[in-house]
């Protein structure tokens, strides 16, 4: 099927009042960034919809495949084109319907005739096209209200445009239209899903990861980078801040009782994240925390960890079941990477019996004997920053294979 262009219907943004243009422009920029690899893509904006085209069939195919991942799109339809001539229209109508699984479906043709000098009236053209398609592709019934398949035809002087398929988009809001937040990214299953859900609500995500070599390997950091690469396909750049965390983590083991090392670790991570957040002008922190999943995720623990900052800490997964989270992770393509088994900084130092109900005052008391501030400042200063999506590194392997 030769597609001519793609009609994109906006999602929730059509309801926005004066910000409307901002949202639409943001969507356009995100689409441009997502499809940077397409040379011939052109975007045309209209009030209620957007048109994307490329002269290359291959690029159109790429667009149809990847547009469902872009937030802020309600749905889209590939549009085909033919000369404004009855025989050509019939042929195209048949071809385009035959791309669908049409047998047993209800059908209708919906003609719009902007080119008023076309010899057939709208209803005549409707009938001509419908009867041709129905005869050529047997097995469909006619249904005027809510047909399964609606062949939309727009007759203009220069050409006639047709579409039939409505492909659902990712909905949500264009990434970046709702500010920026800093995500604590561990490399597990949950945090990439949290990133995805924030992006869906239009938030640009930066990520922070705590790296404790040699207790955690370069491979586990590689895995985190790979996750950033994957989530960056849902819109916009993802910056990753890698915090050298070994010294702090070892100090914690000496400084506080064994059963609260985890709580202190999480509190210090939150403190460091908050400093990076303010330096990067993010408005909130995001975690993949989920109520009751592990010891650090009881309400008491969350409260003790939360006590180090007044910044809003958003936890999009707080009420999700593990299986629901895994479902999303599989859908967005992060699951396989997340489950690759490498030690991360949370698992290496896990105490045998972590306290599930730590108290804030106790925690502050335990931590008061050590001066962590200097170490924290140093860790923040020495962080490494990576930006995703990275251009696909031409693999050394390609030459071998």
């Amino acid at each position: 099927m030769k597609w001519h262009e793609i009609l994109v219907r906006y999602g929730e943004i059509t309801t926005k009042g004066r910000n409307r243009n901002q949202f639409i422009n943001r969507l356009r920029d995100n689409i441009k960034a997502t499809f940077k690899d397409l040379d011939d893509m052109k975007i045309r904006l209209e009030r209620d919809r957007m048109y994307i085209r490329s002269s290359s069939d291959e690029e159109m195919e790429q667009l149809i495949q990847r547009l469902p991942d872009v937030f802020g799109i309600q749905s889209f339809s590939p549009v085909a084109e033919c000369p404004t001539d009855l025989d050509a229209m019939k042929a195209l109508g048949k071809e385009i319907v035959s791309t669908l699984d049409y047998a047993g479906k209800s059908f209708k043709v919906n003609v719009k005739r902007s080119f008023k000098r076309f010899p057939l009236e709208t209803y005549e053209l409707n009938r001509e096209l419908a009867s041709y398609v129905l005869t050529e592709l047997p097995g469909m019934t006619v249904e005027m209200k809510n047909p399964d398949i609606e062949l939309r035809v727009e007759v203009r002087e220069e050409a006639t445009y047709m579409m039939v398929d409505i492909i659902p988009g990712a909905a949500g809001l264009p990434v970046g239209s709702n500010g920026k937040a800093l995500l604590l990214l561990s490399g597990g299953i949950d945090s990439p899903v949290a990133a995805y859900l924030m992006m869906k609500r239009g938030v640009t995500v930066e990520a922070i990861h705590f790296f404790s070599p040699p207790f955690t390997s370069d491979q586990s950091l590689g895995k985190v980078k790979e996750l950033c690469q994957i989530i960056s396909k849902f819109g916009g750049k993802v910056k990753l801040h890698v915090i050298p965390f070994t010294e702090i983590q070892q100090t914690i083991q000496q400084a506080v009782p064994k059963n609260v090392t985890m709580t202190t670790t999480r509190r210090l991570m939150m403190k460091i994240s908050d400093i990076v957040r303010s330096e990067t002008k993010c408005k909130a922190l995001v975690t993949g925390e989920n109520l009751g999943q592990v010891a650090s995720q009881t309400l008491d623990s969350l409260a003790a960890i939360n006590a180090v900052t007044n910044t809003p800490i958003l936890r999009p997964l707080i009420t999700y079941d593990k299986l629901e989270i895994i479902d999303i992770a599989q859908k967005i393509g992060t699951y396989e990477t997340s489950i690759v088994p490498f030690e991360d900084c949370c698992t290496v130092f896990t105490p045998a019996n972590p306290k599930t109900k730590p108290r804030v005052e106790k925690m502050e008391y335990y931590e008061s004997f050590t001066d962590f501030d200097e170490m924290i400042a140093k860790a923040v200063r020495n962080r490494e920053i990576h930006t995703f999506p990275k251009k696909e590194v031409v693999s050394d392997f390609d030459d071998l294979l």
Partner: protein
């Protein structure tokens, strides 16, 4: 020398050698190791496996790297038979299979399996009615090759798969050692076989490399027990450089498959047209067979004599099968297709591969014509060039 024995083995291509050497120099770590060198080698192994799976349209977890065609045949036939005895203990093979299939079936007889052999016609194509008659409700494995290695007959594997599926619960295994890279073979439709064997050294890859591939998740017994490499089916430290080299050879073989088949078929037809009018020459291969194999016999002569005479004329041909070329017996394939007695010992095979030219084929024809004259006493040996 003009090498016309590519069905025995081929010369590894420069690309394959490059890959093998580079992989040995840079990716020699053990893919099962945790450290980054091991992880990197494991990634390379995974990429190789994905590449092979893509070429034959199965999924990577169903591609097992082996040491070659014989091991793949042993593994798939024994592995499927032993792991599925609840379906029965009956095996069906054609009478013209490679020794690694026939001997495997015979070995399974010692474990209580019974084996039936399907007849072939005089062109070497299996008799489908006979196949149907030999399938029973206890048949567990059917092994019928794609292209016969001695005289190039092509078996209708799609029809065989259909018959096996309609008339038994057996797995259908195809020895595709001679066909891979020459004729399409894959798993991507319902007409495909359940398991196939591929060899690296027949496709300008390395000796000691092969693939055993399954269409889908299937119960099968491991061929080597141990540390659980190759999905637990073939333990032992994985020979990653060999496997990468094989993935490369397989890619190149499939990429040029069509052009190669067209070129070889033209040579084959040309040689057939040249041989058929000759007195005292019997042609075993046909224009319907594999594009790269020509087989013929000279009345009353031993194959070995023709091989020697051709070699003196600068052309390397072989007796019908390299595996048995030294033990001077009439090959089981020659017997099965019913070659007349006075031709049965003189069967030789010419098989095409990379690097041959039209001129080489002409040289072969001249040399062969001379050899025929010589052995019939029309010219004296010392007069030969």
């Amino acid at each position: 020398m003009i090498y016309l024995d590519h069905s025995a083995t081929t010369k590894p291509s420069a690309e394959v050698m490059h890959t093998f050497i580079q992989a040995n120099e840079r990716y020699y770590a053990n893919p099962a190791s945790l450290h980054e060198m091991g992880v990197s080698v494991n990634n390379l192994l995974n990429r190789s496996r994905e590449q092979v799976a893509g070429l034959i349209h199965t999924t990577p977890e169903h591609v097992i790297f082996t040491s070659g065609g014989s091991e793949s045949n042993n593994f798939l036939i024994k592995g499927l038979a032993r792991a599925n005895t609840h379906r029965g203990k009956h095996i069906v093979v054609s009478s013209i299979e490679h020794a690694s299939v026939l001997e495997t079936a015979r070995a399974l007889e010692h474990e209580g399996f019974t084996v039936d052999y399907v007849n072939v016609d005089r062109h070497g194509v299996v008799d489908l009615e006979d196949l149907k008659a030999k399938l029973t409700k206890d048949t567990v494995v059917v092994s019928i090759m794609h292209v016969n290695n001695e005289m190039g007959a092509i078996q209708p594997i799609a029809q065989i798969a259909q018959i096996v599926r309609d008339n038994s619960r057996a797995f259908y295994h195809v020895d595709a050692v001679q066909s891979f890279g020459k004729l399409p073979i894959q798993f991507n439709d319902d007409l495909g076989p359940d398991a196939i064997s591929i060899s690296g050294h027949k496709i300008n890859g390395l000796k000691g490399t092969g693939i055993a591939a399954l269409r889908k998740r299937t119960t099968i017994e491991p061929i080597i027990h141990g540390g659980g490499q190759e999905m637990g089916l073939r333990s032992g430290t994985v020979a990653v450089p060999q496997d990468v080299a094989l993935a490369k050879a397989a890619r190149i073989a499939i990429e040029n498959q069509r052009e190669r088949a067209v070129k070889y078929a033209a040579w084959r037809n040309d040689i057939h047209a040249f041989l058929e009018p000759m007195e005292d020459v019997h042609v075993l291969s046909s224009n319907d067979g594999a594009p790269h194999i020509v087989s013929c016999s000279i009345r009353g002569l031993k194959g070995e004599v023709i091989v020697n005479a051709m070699q003196r004329a600068g052309v390397i041909v072989s007796t019908s099968s390299a595996c048995h070329s030294k033990d001077n017996q009439i090959s089981h394939v020659v017997q099965a297709i019913g070659v007349p007695d006075d031709f049965a010992r003189g069967v030789i095979r010419m098989s095409f591969g990379e690097g041959l030219t039209d001129a080489d084929i002409e040289t072969f024809k001249q040399a062969f014509a001379q050899v025929v004259k010589q052995v019939r006493g029309e010219i004296k040996t010392h007069e030969m060039a």
